[in-house]
């Protein structure tokens, strides 16, 4: 069925991003916005904006019934959930299925299959995809047996967690019983699910993920990998493709693993399979799958020339995959910096407020996905992402060069940002060499601390 009108159940840069593709495709857009976002760029960019509730997400963007009612009320054919909010809540996908509304994403059953991290692990094992040594543990004694087998350090992970939430590191086996109890209690409070599982903690790991597209009929293509190892407290800050300096044959094997995993699910829409590359053991493990479009999707778009949102829409319309693996080419290197309204001087605390002025970069190979213009408001209710700068070049060196220039061109006034952090990382020889692991950012910040103090007082 041809989609003529889409309700966008999201905000910020991703709402603007989805509207842009809809415009190209001649699809009408209705933005479901909270009261705090009625003046936003996507609200002005959409063909129509309707107010779904107050600013607080629990009163607006997280209300399944309100979103579906809004879509029915404006006679939309489909809902695009963006990322975050309801994008990976099976409830929205399910209500859409019941109401005959197209959900631009996977099926409710697929969201459930990967949302339960233990089930996702089992799916990975069944698909022959490597997982980190570990497994489900119901009691402390079970945990001790498994913990001894894997050997510390260990991670206790909440089944309902993901994206770095609901994890606990245990360095000594004797600490395991107490940590288990605490982890179960925390998981219950945070996710309404006490179940936890154990996994080996990988001290030196890289976060490498594979972008896939599926048509829900068992056909899957991958669009290469992204390296997202530059993270602070599991929040990605810089992503790039291809992943630099991977061990030999890893790239092809990781791609294959992502395809095997999602083929088995008959996955529909865009998705990302995350892996942890264990540098000490020369292995990689399935981490989790994100059943949505991701923040960092533009780097993949830059090197493949594929509009992932357009492909999501085509698949949602019921079309077979239009992309063929053998004709997908990846050209050059692309890197993305997430510009956040947060204050590095105050431990990267969010800094909402009014953006007095915003000047974004432009130029060859530079793309900016943002909803922030001069005068824009950053409400306190949402994440602090202001925009993403994506630089593409024929090789990593030129992509980094373009990114350095782009960051230097960017001027944001009125709120604190992490622009200087990005400039410093891009100037850091260790990062420039490529292939840093996930402990890079804390190490880098520690290193940077001293000269900065001297500068501040000098």
């Amino acid at each position: 069925m041809a989609i003529r009108r889409i309700l966008i159940a999201n905000r910020g840069e991703i709402a603007a991003r989805v509207i842009r593709t809809c415009r190209t495709l001649g699809i009408e857009t209705v933005l479901a916005a909270s009261e705090a976002d009625l003046d936003s760029v996507p609200a002005r960019f959409a063909d129509r904006t309707i107010c779904i509730g107050p600013g607080r997400p629990s009163d607006s963007y997280l209300r399944v019934e309100t979103i579906v009612q809004a879509a029915l009320g404006v006679k939309a054919d489909a809902i695009h959930p963006g990322y975050g909010f309801l994008s990976e809540r099976p409830a929205l996908a399910r209500v859409c299925e019941q109401e005959g509304m197209i959900f631009i994403g996977p099926t409710a059953a697929q969201i459930e299959a990967v949302g339960d991290k233990l089930r996702a692990r089992a799916e990975a094992e069944a698909a022959g995809v490597p997982t980190a040594p570990g497994g489900a543990v119901e009691t402390v004694s079970e945990a001790m047996v498994l913990g001894r087998e894997i050997g510390p350090p260990l991670l206790i992970k909440a089944v309902g967690g993901g994206g770095g939430r609901g994890m606990k590191r245990v360095d000594r086996l004797e600490d395991l019983p107490a940590a288990m109890d605490m982890a179960a209690a925390e998981a219950s409070a945070a996710f309404g699910d006490t179940r936890v599982y154990l996994e080996r903690f990988v001290a030196r790991g890289r976060h490498v993920e594979v972008q896939i597209l599926g048509d829900g009929k068992g056909r899957i293509v991958h669009l290469g990998e992204r390296d997202c190892s530059v993270q602070r407290r599991y929040q990605k800050l810089i992503e790039e493709t291809p992943a630099p300096a991977l061990p030999p044959d890893f790239r092809a094997r990781i791609h294959e693993a992502a395809v095997l995993f999602t083929e088995r699910l008959h996955y529909r829409s865009a998705g990302t399979v995350e892996f942890l590359v264990d540098l000490e053991r020369g292995a990689f493990y399935f981490l989790e799958m994100n059943a949505r479009i991701q923040v960092e999707h533009p780097v993949t778009e830059a090197v493949t020339g594929v509009d992932l949102v357009a492909e999501q829409i085509a698949v949602a319309e019921g079309h077979d995959l239009r992309l063929k693996q053998e004709s997908l080419k990846r050209e050059g290197c692309a890197i993305e910096c997430r510009i956040n309204a947060e204050d590095p001087a105050r431990d990267f605390h969010p800094s909402p407020g009014v953006v007095r002025s915003a000047v974004w970069p432009a130029g060859e190979g530079v793309r900016v996905d943002t909803h922030i213009v001069s005068g824009a408001r950053i409400p306190p209710f949402y994440d602090s992402l202001m925009g993403k700068i994506i630089a593409h070049g024929p090789d990593r060196f030129s992509a980094l060069e373009r990114m350095r220039k782009a960051i230097a061109e960017t001027r944001i006034e009125g709120v604190a940002t992490n622009l200087e952090f990005h400039a410093d990382v891009l100037a850091d020889p260790e990062f420039a060499r490529g292939g840093v692991d996930t402990s890079y950012v804390p190490r880098f910040l520690g290193r940077r601390h001293l000269p900065q103090q001297v500068r501040a007082h000098g």
Partner: protein, 153 residues
């Protein structure tokens, strides 16, 4: 028309919520110049000093097109939810209220359906219904003005 104390209070509230530093307004020869941070609005007869316009700021939070009120001093009954608005308890039954109806704060004036869940809407104001803006069976947004009431007591 002239500015009442209530109007000024309302304008001050709007300025407070906006990202503008100052506002100057002229109605029928009365000039009002408000500046954020100063406690008392200053009435003055000479033109206010020009204030530097802020960088292209978005309009403050009232971009919705709304029919202007038929008389000053009316209170709005705003929709507490997004959903389908019904004026009557059931199809074919008389509406909860018509123009001219006297309402109390807890008088039910309509129903909003959100995915088959019916939510009653109360007037939250005391007075007489003078305008009904929302149509029966139409989608109403959060905060949309459903009716206007001439306050009483």
């Amino acid at each position: 028309m002239t500015l009442t104390a209530k109007d000024v209070a309302e304008i001050m509230r709007l300025l407070e919520q906006s990202n503008f530093e100052s506002l100057s307004l002229e109605i029928n020869g009365v000039k009002l110049n408000l500046q954020r941070g100063s406690a008392v609005p200053v009435r003055q007869t000479s033109p206010p000093a020009a204030t530097a316009p802020q960088a292209p700021a978005p309009a403050s939070q009232a971009p919705r097109k709304v029919r202007p009120p038929s008389e000053p001093g009316l209170s709005d009954i705003a929709s507490p939810l997004l959903g389908i608005f019904y004026r009557a308890p059931k199809p074919g039954e008389p509406p909860f209220v018509e123009v001219g109806a006297k309402v109390e704060e807890d008088t039910v004036i309509g129903i909003i359906e959100v995915m088959k869940l019916m939510n009653s809407v109360r007037a939250e104001a005391k007075g007489e219904v003078v305008e009904i803006l929302a149509e029966n069976g139409a989608l109403v947004e959060y905060g949309e003005i459903l009716m206007r009431v001439r306050p009483r007591g």
